[in-house]
Each structure stands twice: as C-alpha cells, then as structure tokens.
C-alpha cells in the first residue's frame, strides 16, 4: 500500500506503507494443554545438565560446609579476619547476595503493576531466585558471627542479661528489613504459585500429589477465587515495590551512616538499590539461559523476552554507572581529604586490580549487550551475564576492604590484606548452596507460571481476534500510520 503525503508544495514524498507485525513474545503455536505438558515435563525429566549442575553445586556446598566446620572448630583466626579487617568476604558476599535478591521480586512486582506481559514466563524463577539469595545472605550473618553457639545472645527477648536491641542501629534496621523482605517475597512467590500447584495436583501421582494437594490448599479456579486472587496479588505487588527499595537503602546505611572514608556518601542508598537491581538482572539473564536449556523452555523463554530483559539490564547498568561515577566525583571534589585519599588508594593501591576489574566488568562490559550477536548467542550472553556479576561482586569487595585497610588512623592500616582460603571456601560454598536450592526448587515446583503464560496466549489471541493478525497497528484519520520497516520508513 502506498500513500502520498503532501509535505511541500513542490515536492510529494512517496511513503511506502508496509505493515510489519510486532514481534510476539510467544510463538503462535502455543496452546494451553501444551503449556501444562511442557512445564510439568520439566518437573519430571530435565536434561542431564541438570544433574551435572546440581552435583557440582552440591560438591561446592560440601566444601563450604567443610570450611565452616573448620572455622567453627579452630576459631575465627583461620579466616584472617582481624581488627580493622573485621568484615572481609563475608559481609561483601552478604551484600552481594542481598543485592542479587532484589531484582526478582522487585521486577516481578513492578512489571506486574505496569502490566508488562513479558514478565509472565520468567517471573516465577526470578522470585525463587530472590528467596534463595536472601536465605544464602542470611547464612553469612551466622558465618561471620563465628561463635554460632552464642547466636541466641543477639536475639531480642527479655532476659537476665538486659540485652535489648539498639533500635537506632542500621544493623537492627537491616535485620528487620531483610526479615520483612524474605517473608513478603516468600508469600508473594507462594501466592502466585497456588493456581499452578493445583495444576500439578491434578496431574501428579503418589507423594508428589500429596505435596501439591497440601500446598494448593484446594484451589479450584472459581471466579470468586480468581477475583480475590487478582486483587491480593496486585496489592502485594504494591507493597513489595517500596519494600524492596527500602531494604537495600537500609543495607546501604550500614555504611553511609558511619564516618569511614568512602562510605559516608549521600548517594549510597540509590547507588545500592541500582547496584542490587543490576546484579539481580544479570542473575536473571544467567538463570534464563540455564533454565531454558536444562528444562527445554525454548517455547516460553524466547528471544523477544530475552531482548527486553537485556535492554532493561543495560539501562540499569548505565544508571548504576552514572551513580558510581557521581560518587567518585562527589568524593574528589568534596572537602574530605581522607575520603579523597581513600579513592586514590582504591584506584592505585593494593586493591587496584579489583577496582579496575570492577570498572571493566560492570561498566564496560554492559556495552557488549548492544551487539546483536551477543544478544542472540546464548553461550556468549551467559558468559557476559556472569562477568557482569563478577563485576558487581568486586564492587562489594572494593567498597569494604580498601576502606578498612586504610582508614582514618594510620596505625590501623593493613595494606595488602587478603582473605584466607577459609573465607574463599565459604564464599564458594554459598554459590553451591544457592545453586543447589534453586535447582531443587525448579525440579519440584513449576519454574514457569503456567496460568500466566495461558493468560498471555489468551490476550495475544484476543488481540488477534479483535484487530486481525495482519491489520495495521494504528489507524488515524489520515489512514494507517506507516510502520517502521526495519528501522527505515
């Protein structure tokens, strides 16, 4: 179809009108029964790669347990944690895991509120990721404590020791915020899963059936249940949005309300929130590729959905980069000489490799996402998503270690401090623990939301039915608006 648009008295511009249908998130041939079949199959027969990943994770976790037992029996000295290096890898990795946990629930809630349908095939495993990363992060509090047998000393309850928590301490805020987030995320995950658990119940046998029957609570999919479910799910999403932002802001106050150089920065809360989103998004991409292959989810975890995820990750990476640079600028142009020295030390001192490694992995590498080949090659993308997260882990490391190594008092300087193998072992074990839990979850529970993918297909079909699959997307009084034709009109 062509149309003449009079743009100038002497010149008529010929615009070729060509309708290019919007790329759909899911294929045309996905039907509801097939969705059930595919997702339920993932609970039964994953690819052999599942077991390779699972047992590798188990081995890693076992090594972490060995390190923890060794530290427990020998004493905290084996970790090389000492004054002033009191946090080391344990707290750096704690923050890393808390950050990883942010994207799952936060993005799921945000995208649900704005009715971004492409979230539907990927939100379930993202929320599960949140739950397990928070559980992993919580372990580091115990590990870092050292004397596990005295854990109950820090729990606030009336006792003869008159131990009351200091409610004005960011550490208490932290514990409360993370507890709230874990509880809410777990409930959000569970609530969203009830209709799918009913599907599992209707199709499973034996012990699995009993489990699903118990967890699905007798869901029947009645109109009244759906009506209440939708309102409740949206309400919870609205709560989770500000909660997720508050949690990582509060984590940042562990640092920002102190006087230590490099930490006393006003932009820390948004910087932490964006950092959390960034590492979480990279984690979602990693798991997207792994689950897509392991559980044969090619029909649901599609390239258009991955493209949207990548675009979002890139945008978040750029905002995080901006906030990181602005933090350096504030320190550099500020009047705090110690903070400025700290910045110079980070970039040129004992931890320069980690600093520039972070810059490369987390600031430079995101630009590779602009390359089409990278976006479409799953192996390359998997590697890049892992590199992005290495960058984010290095960011946490270089926030903590250089500041402790060279703070206000020269007699406390511990330049060149390096964590012991025990710390590295426990950190490696935490990755094994997370992977093991996550893969187990995906083997027992549907990691793709069946009912929401059905909704997506239903809405896609309704749209096609109303507008016709080949109809122009927009109509105006002048006729059809010319669609973009591969970027050229």
């Amino acid at each position: 179809m062509s149309h003449t648009v009079p743009s100038h008295p002497q010149m008529d511009v010929q615009i070729e009108r060509k309708f290019v249908p919007k790329q759909k998130d899911l294929g045309e041939d996905v039907n509801w029964a097939q969705i059930n079949k595919d997702v339920l199959r993932s609970l039964e027969k994953p690819r052999p790669a599942f077991w390779i990943i699972f047992f590798s994770a188990l081995a890693l976790f076992s090594f972490g347990v060995y390190c923890e037992v060794y530290q427990y029996q020998t004493g905290m000295g084996v970790s090389d944690l000492n004054n002033p290096q009191v946090w080391g890898l344990y707290i750096a990795t704690f923050i890393f895991w808390i950050g990883m946990g942010h994207s799952g629930t936060l993005l799921s809630a945000l995208l649900h509120i704005i009715h971004a349908d492409w979230r539907k095939p990927i939100y379930r495993y993202s929320e599960a990721m949140t739950t397990f990363t928070l559980m992993t992060a919580a372990l580091f509090v115990l590990v870092h404590m050292g004397r596990l047998w005295q854990f109950y000393y820090v729990v606030a309850y009336p006792n003869e020791r008159w131990v009351w928590p200091n409610f004005t301490s960011p550490l208490v805020w932290d514990a409360t915020a993370i507890g709230t987030y874990l509880t809410s995320s777990l409930l959000f995950l569970y609530m969203g899963m009830i209709p799918d658990l009913a599907i599992c119940r209707d199709n499973a046998k034996g012990a699995r059936r009993a489990l699903y029957k118990f967890l699905s609570l007798g869901w029947q999919g009645t109109d009244r249940q759906w009506g209440n479910f939708k309102v409740a799910y949206m309400t919870m999403a609205c709560f989770l949005m500000p909660l997720a932002v508050s949690v990582h802001s509060i984590v940042s106050t562990d640092f920002a309300v102190s006087q230590n150089p490099g930490w006393h920065v006003t932009s820390f809360p948004p910087y932490f929130v964006l950092g959390a989103l960034y590492s979480g998004c990279s984690g979602i991409i990693t798991l997207f590729i792994v689950l897509r292959y392991v559980f044969r989810f090619e029909a649901y975890m599609t390239q258009p959905i991955l493209n949207k995820l990548i675009k979002m990750t890139f945008a978040i990476a750029m905002v995080w980069t901006y906030l990181d640079l602005i933090e350096y600028a504030t320190t550099w142009y500020g009047s705090d000489e110690v903070a400025r020295q700290d910045l110079v030390y980070r970039a040129t001192g004992d931890y320069a490799l980690q600093f520039w490694g972070m810059i490369f992995c987390a600031m430079v590498m995101p630009f590779t996402l602009l390359i089409r080949f990278v976006r479409q090659n799953y192996v390359v993308l998997l590697i890049i998503s892992l590199i992005l997260n290495v960058g984010m882990w290095l960011e946490r490391f270089q926030i903590i270690t250089p500041t402790f190594a060279k703070s206000h008092y020269p007699w406390t300087w511990t330049a060149g401090w390096w964590p012991s193998w025990v710390q590295w072992g426990i950190v490696a074990g935490s990755f094994g623990w997370f992977t093991m839990l996550f893969m187990l979850y995906c083997k027992i529970f549907p990691s793709v939301s069946m009912y929401e993918v059905k909704e997506m297909v239903h809405e896609q079909n309704m749209h096609d039915k109303l507008h016709g699959a080949q109809a122009p997307a927009h109509q105006t009084a002048l006729g059809a608006i010319p669609e973009m034709n591969g970027g050229k009109i």
Partner: protein, 175 residues
C-alpha cells in the same frame, strides 16, 4: 429443599459466555445467578462480569493491617526503649522518633502483606475441599460452569447449558 449441582465444560469462552447469558435471561423460578460458579484455568473477567457484582473486601483488611501494624510496632519499640532507661543516652532522647520510623515503616509493610494474605485465604475459602463437582480439565484449558439448583429446575438448566456445545455435562452422581 436439598439442592443439586450440575457442571458443564466448554472449550470456547464465547460459548460459555452465551450459556451464561441464556441462564441469566432464563427466568427459571428459584434460580439465581448467585448460584452459578465459573471454574477456569485463568481469570476470565468478561465471564465473571455476566455473573453480576461479586465484591472483593480484601483491601479493607489490608487497610486494617497498615493501620494496626505500624501503630503496634512503634508502641512496642518505644516501650522497649523507654524500659531500658539505664542506658546512657548522652543527652539524646530516650525514644528517638526519626530513626524509629525506619522500623515502623517495615512493620507497616509487613502487617499490610500479612493481612492481605490472611484475608485472601479467608475470602477464597482456602484451605478447602474441592467440592462440589471438580474436573481436572478446568485447570488445563476448559471452562466449567457450575450451577447449584433445585432438582426440579435441573432439566431446564441442563437444556440451556447443552445448547452451547458443551464438551460434557456432569451431575452430582458424577462425583
């Protein structure tokens, strides 16, 4: 009089909608749209609309949660601080409200979420038994219309449901 149930399964939402419209306009004595339940694998607002208003009250319980949670939380925090007056405060207030707002805010969210979940389970009548008449295909791709009616009206109801190409019509004896 003891009521009886009938469940018709449809594969086409449009046919299910037509069946509901016919039921609504049938004028069968003793039959009310309140006695009709739709069972479906996804939410079908266009079908639920035909059943008439079925209000949701969850938000009121959420409101109760967000009012009670922070109030109770702040009172507990402040009373804990006030009861620990032996702590040297260095001239700072015993109950410092600005930092206490952080925990109050977290409790605001937590109680809101908990009340929402609890009220949802109550409203959805969960946990509950799957009855009356359940067919596993409604969790896959079929739409079920369940009608509770007097035994005398059952033939008329079944006739209306049968007009719109149901895959199957089941009665109480099919349980």
């Amino acid at each position: 009089m003891k009521k009886t149930h009938t469940l018709a399964l449809y594969s086409d939402p449009d046919e299910a909608a037509n069946a509901l419209k016919d039921l609504k306009s049938s004028g069968i004595s003793g039959f009310r749209m309140d006695d009709v339940i739709i069972k479906s694998p996804i939410d079908h607002p266009e079908l639920s609309e035909l059943l008439g208003p079925r209000p949701v009250y969850i938000q009121w319980f959420t409101l109760l949660g967000v009012l009670l949670g922070p109030t109770t939380g702040l009172v507990l925090i402040a009373s804990a601080q006030a009861s620990f007056i032996y702590q040297v405060r260095g001239g700072r207030p015993v109950v410092p409200f600005p930092p206490d707002m952080v925990l109050t805010y977290e409790l605001f969210i937590l109680s809101g979420v908990l009340m929402t979940v609890l009220s949802t389970f109550v409203a959805m009548k969960l946990p509950g038994n799957r009855s009356p008449l359940y067919n596993a295909s409604v969790s896959e791709d079929k739409i079920g219309i369940l009608v509770k009616t007097d035994p005398a009206s059952l033939p008329q109801i079944n006739e209306i449901l049968g007009r719109h190409k149901p895959l199957e019509i089941m009665g109480d004896n099919a349980r």
